[in-house]
């Protein structure tokens, strides 16, 4: 015999379980079906006619798709590095110093996180066009417009994550280091930075995912030669919905899931899951 359901054991109640099941079906069924139909033989993408991996071959032979993928990776890497540097420094500065205008800077730094993406997108579109931003530069310099946009909305996230990490930092460690004769730089490199490391890694993975995922900002800042993977998939969806789109999407899903797994692995030893 099982124990009777306790008053607080909501998860054991039938209707709650049904609710959970329904929500997870709602969340996962579309993605599962999308992945399944990337292996479907029929071009029409509706009826299952047999298993094939042809669409993956096609997607991998699609030069413009590969180009978009390379752009996405390059943009994600550079914008992650820049976001970690800018966000880490800003977080440390806000953590360490008292200065006039601090609440203003705090507020402005949070703005890119909260304002609708489309507002930032059109603002950057106008800015690049009117400021005479150089175009036609060789790759990867021509990606600068997209990269700058990604850094604008990624580095405030990094700053938030790093600052949360710094809350637990014992500043007397820094003072001890300086008392023992270390310079400002040595103290930063040997004492502060090692403590920040988990925050920086978490921030970096967040920035990377945000950059790989972004559609709206990229849509407004990219030119014909600087299209990213999501923007390319968007134009494919607008033209016609073929299993090739599903195959390309599946590759991107795999990529982000892989990043997530790495992120969880990194967090586990020091902080536990979540």
């Amino acid at each position: 015999m099982r124990n009777p359901i306790g008053p607080l054991e909501f998860t054991r109640r039938g209707w709650v379980r049904l609710w959970l099941l329904a929500v997870f079906v709602f969340l996962y069924a579309p993605i599962v079906i999308l992945v399944a139909f990337s292996f479907n033989q029929s071009r029409r993408n509706i009826v299952w006619t047999g298993f094939t991996t042809d669409w993956y071959g096609r997607a991998l032979n699609n030069a413009s798709l590969i180009e978009a993928f390379t752009n996405s990776i390059m943009i994600a890497l550079i914008s992650t590095v820049l976001s970690v540097i800018l966000g880490g420094l800003l977080a440390l500065g806000l953590y360490r110093f008292r200065f006039p205008g601090k609440p203003v800077l705090d507020g402005v730094a949070a703005l890119p996180i909260v304002i609708p993406e489309i507002c930032l997108g059109v603002a950057l579109l106008v800015f690049y066009a009117r400021a005479g931003w150089p175009t036609g530069l060789p790759w990867p310099l021509n990606l600068s417009q997209v990269i700058i946009g990604h850094v604008v909305f990624s580095f405030p996230f990094v700053a938030v994550v790093v600052r949360a990490r710094m809350e637990g930092f014992d500043r007397s460690l820094e003072e001890a280091s300086k008392d023992l004769g270390a310079s400002e730089w040595q103290t930063f490199w040997n004492v502060t930075l090692p403590y920040m490391k988990t925050g920086l890694i978490a921030g970096a993975l967040l920035a990377m995912t945000l950059s790989l995922d972004d559609f709206v900002i990229t849509f407004f800042t990219s030119g014909p030669e600087t299209i990213t993977f999501p923007v390319k998939i968007y134009s494919m969806v607008r033209q016609s919905v073929t299993p090739e789109v599903n195959a390309a999407s599946t590759i991107l899903i795999l990529f982000t899931v892989l990043l997530t797994v790495i992120a969880l692995k990194f967090q586990k030893p020091s902080e536990g899951v979540g």
């Binding site: 008053p7 607080l8 909501f10 998860t11 709650v16 379980r17 959970l20 929500v23 969340l27 996962y28 069924a29 579309p30 993605i31 079906i33 999308l34 993408n45 509706i46 420094l89 800003l90 360490r96 110093f97 008292r98 200065f99 800077l105 402005v108 730094a109 890119p112 304002i115 609708p116 489309i118 507002c119 930032l120 059109v122 603002a123 950057l124 106008v126 800015f127 946009g149 850094v151 604008v152 580095f155 700053a159 995912t209 790989l212 995922d213 559609f215 709206v216 407004f220 999501p230 998939i233 968007y234 969806v237 919905v241 789109v245 999407s249 991107l252 899903i253 982000t256 899931v257 997530t260």
Partner: protein, 303 residues
């Protein structure tokens, strides 16, 4: 914390780069379109700032006001559905045995890490005329017809199953927003419920309140900060939706985001587009101010 004057150079190294970046690539571009919103077109490309309010007046014409109202309503309905769907989920995860908790949380977070465009695209395959939802309903329809025929009631159901128009309308947009932003609602609710003092719930139940009453008067009340956070996290992106309404909506489900995009690209009416996007920004600020006001009031009630 130390005063910045003690080490101005260290201070500048920390604060400088981020502040500069924010100024150059965030405030400056936004300021630019803020000025465009009070400017006039002169010739095909040039825009002169004349401090006119004509663009805002045009943006407040009934046709755009209706658009704002519709965007607002769609965002509101989507947020409400998210809240109702997410609350039991957050509660269940919170009170789940520890060994399932992380798995359940991961299941909620994982779709959030899947590209938004791909999730929207996945919805198309579900909802279109020959999509899976219609196929499923069609199967049920056929089964029901088969069951009703011997009783002679099949005449009630019509000759053939007509697929429901699920895609390219406002319902599809709402469904898309709920699908994409549901994790944003579950997570703050969960974070809030997790901190909640369970003995209060037990006390309420012990003192004879029913589960329903305890839910509304204890759990929901204590979860208010989480509810407000979740509403803001879903409502603001829903207001600025552009991709979801573009791919799932029909001709009558254009939202403010789509119109802004059109002014900046196809229509090339930058002043009007700027005025519309700033109205959207002001709406966002009002929502954020409301949240701050709620938070301040809650704090006062606690004190």
């Amino acid at each position: 914390m130390e005063n910045w004057r003690r080490q101005p150079w260290v201070f500048a190294t920390f604060i400088g780069p981020g502040t500069l970046w924010l100024f150059l690539f965030f405030l400056l571009p936004l300021g630019w379109i803020w000025l465009f919103a009070v400017g006039e077109r002169e010739g095909p490309v040039d825009i002169v700032v004349t401090w006119t309010l004509e663009n805002y007046r045009e943006a407040l014409q009934p046709v755009y006001l209706q658009l704002f109202l519709k965007t607002f309503l769609i965002a509101l309905v989507s947020t409400a559905i998210c809240l109702v769907v997410a609350f039991p989920v957050a509660l269940a995860i919170c009170f789940a045995p520890d060994r399932y908790k992380n798995v359940l949380l991961l299941l909620v977070i994982l779709p959030f890490w899947t590209n938004m465009l791909i999730r929207t695209y996945a919805m198309i395959a579900m909802l279109r005329q020959n999509g899976f939802v219609n196929d499923g309903i069609g199967l049920l329809w056929t089964a029901l017809k088969y069951l009703l025929t011997p009783v002679g009631l099949d005449g009630l159901m019509g000759e053939r199953f007509a697929p429901l128009p699920l895609l390219y309308n406002n319902t599809a947009v709402v469904l898309g927003i709920v699908y994409v932003y549901l994790p944003f609602m579950v997570l703050p609710l969960y974070a809030n419920l997790e901190k909640l003092d369970r003995s209060l719930i037990e006390a309420s139940l012990d003192l004879g309140a029913s589960q329903v009453r305890t839910f509304f008067e204890i759990i929901v009340r204590l979860a208010k900060p989480g509810i407000v956070s979740g509403i803001i996290l879903v409502f603001i992106p829903a207001l600025g939706t552009f991709l979801i309404s573009d791919l799932l909506g029909g001709p009558d489900s254009q939202l403010i985001g789509n119109v802004v995009e059109r002014q900046f690209r196809a229509a090339n009416n930058l002043p009007l587009g700027s005025a519309l996007s700033f109205l959207l920004l002001y709406l966002t600020f009002i929502a954020l101010a409301l949240r701050a006001w709620f938070a301040a009031r809650a704090e006062k009630a606690d004190a």
